[in-house]
Symmetry: C2
């Protein structure tokens, strides 16, 4: 039994074992990785009762801690959600193996033939919130892309993540791949997170998924390269040339379909000229749907709204709450999003192509949308299969991150005694 | 006149100005960037005498400091080299503009149309050795890719870099682009480098080019993401199935064509079974060409070699010196390269496809070569036009880095009132 109180020693040991596993995984047969994921899916299905029992422990803990309804919902597993986890594993299993895939190849006048092929990154560290399914998705995508992974889930989902992780290890064992390929940090101690952020010798990249607390920690402490998966402060701008019906449908869907996902709308910007027409209609519909609408002074004349405070701009509610304010024109909307957004997903509602072009060109969010619900910000909806999350940084990975974005590449150059 | 002794204030001011320039550059017209680079090339040609005079100051300084011949060679400009700098600028000017290029686009069953388009990274910081031409190449590639850049050249090339930088600014001014798009750190104080490595608010990525000293500094201090362009500890492995003639030609070219570039061979590994045949011939030819060959005990029986010390493994000479040792088999060669290499460029000489495949699969250098001179490790030779250098890391950029790899991407999603 390892000493779970000596965090540096514990994490150093996990890192070393991950590095060793990565060396084997880098050239593991695609078929072995596929079968491991299928065996893991079988195990998840077979062990659904154990996973539910583990989840019940987490839910008790969550209730004691007084988690919000939205957080409890994300934490909760059901037979259906467990079935979805197994389906997710099978989906990743069935995807093409990215490792070794030739991205480009060309000949040079010198006589050289050059190929650019995908290669794993090495060891990935994933730090995530209390969503048990991320354990399966992140583990599967890292394995598929030939990376070893160290998973550190939220403390509220501790037992659920352990039960799911056991199934992943069962899959690895079934095909003879190293069990250290997918490791789960076996303690709730937050010191493990700080340790991971500085393990430059053994972790090649950290994927941090979470809100403001994690943002700050990563900014202060990370020495390992980071694919940030941070807040989704999603804005929707209703332009002067918006279509009233589309605006109504899209905003309602973007806010209320599921409030707990990072693509949920959090702030509504309304062009001054359409406040009394489209704006009124949209805000009333949101209030009728049970949304708390926190508004600036101009919009506060609409019955049922509540006044916003300065804190409400740039805030991720993940709940049935939205901030709303009036803007003078598209450039004011762009300026607001630049100041308060998180470069995740932002949307314009307009029939005016020039306005849409300006919005698309002058903003630099990972995902920019026109006349579409921001709830589509999702790897599955983009056609990528599973995703480890939505990257909000610009280095290497961006937007929905699947197995391909968890790889790097190398050049293979062939000559015949060719000299320069 | 700015206070050049208050480095934090100086650098903070440069960062803020770069950030402002980047906001404009992000949607600058391709034509403006092209014309700016052409005007810069004109200025380099017109001001060749001034650049040569500045270079003469640097050469005096270098002689006083007692720089090695190899370093003096890299520092020296001539009318021909200045003409090449202008040609380089025109080459980048003529390339396709990467910003806004559609990398992929597809339709989804939901009705959404998704485009993935290139977008600049923002502000790039380039820290480089005393090669005056890098000032022009790095400045041009950053401008082409829509990034603002802060250049910090080696202290020995201070005046040459300033003279070339003045030409780049003249190009920006000629077309009305912000002059702060390409800034050069106006002091030799090394504190500026440490400052750049931590300017997370204003620099998006640092490109460090250099040897061991810079490697250590970056590892200790960098908080900004890094595209490492570090040492090229280039290995060539002569396999048992190597062709003797190809081996002779390739090794000679890889070591001696130009010793000061990062693709120059630094270490020769020879399969035990061909030491007395191919090995002897290659080492004698190197010695005849004037190369100092530092060998292990087995090879030291060859007349004219000198004994290697432990320090010689994993060393970048950038000079007419090479280390050489015997290995038992291909796996020993791979193990040596894993331990001492720098993931830059490594080469196998063999006629055996299985050996080449194993070498390509089990090593993870940015560039792996078979039967070709490692001096081909170069963006131009790869067909990419100019390069900012050869990236040795795995995040985002790898191998020869041109304008494309200095971009990120965003997703533009269009619907028609589409909801999920």
């Amino acid at each position: 039994m390892k000493d779970l109180t000596d965090i540096p020693a514990l994490m150093h040991d996990m890192g070393r074992r991950a590095r060793d596993a990565a060396a084997v995984l880098a050239y593991a047969a695609p078929e072995a990785k596929r079968r491991a994921l299928e065996a893991a899916a079988d195990a998840v299905e077979a062990q659904a009762p154990e996973i539910l029992a583990a989840n019940a422990q987490d839910l008790d803990y969550g209730r004691e801690k007084g988690l919000s309804d939205a957080m409890m919902d994300r934490l909760t597993l059901s037979p259906e959600r467990i079935a979805d986890i197994a389906i997710g594993l099978r989906t990743v299993a069935a995807q093409d193996d990215p490792v070794g895939a030739v991205m480009d190849e060309w000949d040079r006048p010198s006589g050289l033939h050059i190929r650019r092929v995908r290669t794993p990154l090495g060891v990935v560290g994933v730090i995530y919130e209390s969503r048990p399914n991320v354990t399966a998705d992140a583990g599967a995508l890292c394995l598929k892309s030939g990376n070893a992974v160290i998973l550190r889930g939220g403390s509220e989902s501790f037992h659920s993540s352990r039960a799911i992780h056991a199934c992943l290890v069962e899959g690895l064992r079934a095909v003879g791949l190293p069990e250290d390929a997918i490791q789960l940090v076996p303690t709730r101690d937050r010191a493990a997170v700080s340790e991971m952020l500085t393990m430059t010798d053994t972790i090649d990249v950290i994927v941090p998924r979470g809100g403001k607390g994690l943002v700050g920690l990563v900014q202060r402490e990370a020495r390992v390269p980071v694919f940030a998966h941070l807040e989704g402060i999603v804005h929707i701008y209703i332009d002067r040339e918006a279509d009233p019906l589309k605006a109504l449908e899209v905003v309602k869907n973007a806010k209320t379909r599921r409030t707990g996902i990072c693509g949920a709308a959090e702030c509504l910007l309304i062009h001054r000229d359409v406040v009394d027409t489209i704006g009124q209609g949209v805000i009333r519909a949101l209030i009728e749907a049970g949304v708390e609408v926190r508004t600036d002074e101009t919009l506060s004349k609409i019955v049922g709204t509540v006044p916003a405070s300065e804190d409400d701009w740039g805030r991720e509610y993940l709940d049935m709450i939205i901030a709303a304010r009036v803007v003078d024109d598209i450039d004011s909307a762009i300026a607001h999003i630049r100041r308060y957004g998180s470069n995740h997903t932002d949307c314009i509602l307009t029939e005016d192509d020039a306005a849409a072009d300006r919005f698309f060109q002058r903003l630099d969010s990972a995902i920019l949308m026109r006349n579409a619900s921001t709830q589509f910000a999702d790897g599955g909806e983009f056609g990528m299969g599973a995703e480890i999350g939505i990257a909000t940084g610009k280095m290497h990975a961006r937007g929905p991150v699947g197995a391909e974005q968890l790889t790097s590449f190398k050049y293979l150059v062939t000559g015949d005694g060719t000299v320069r």
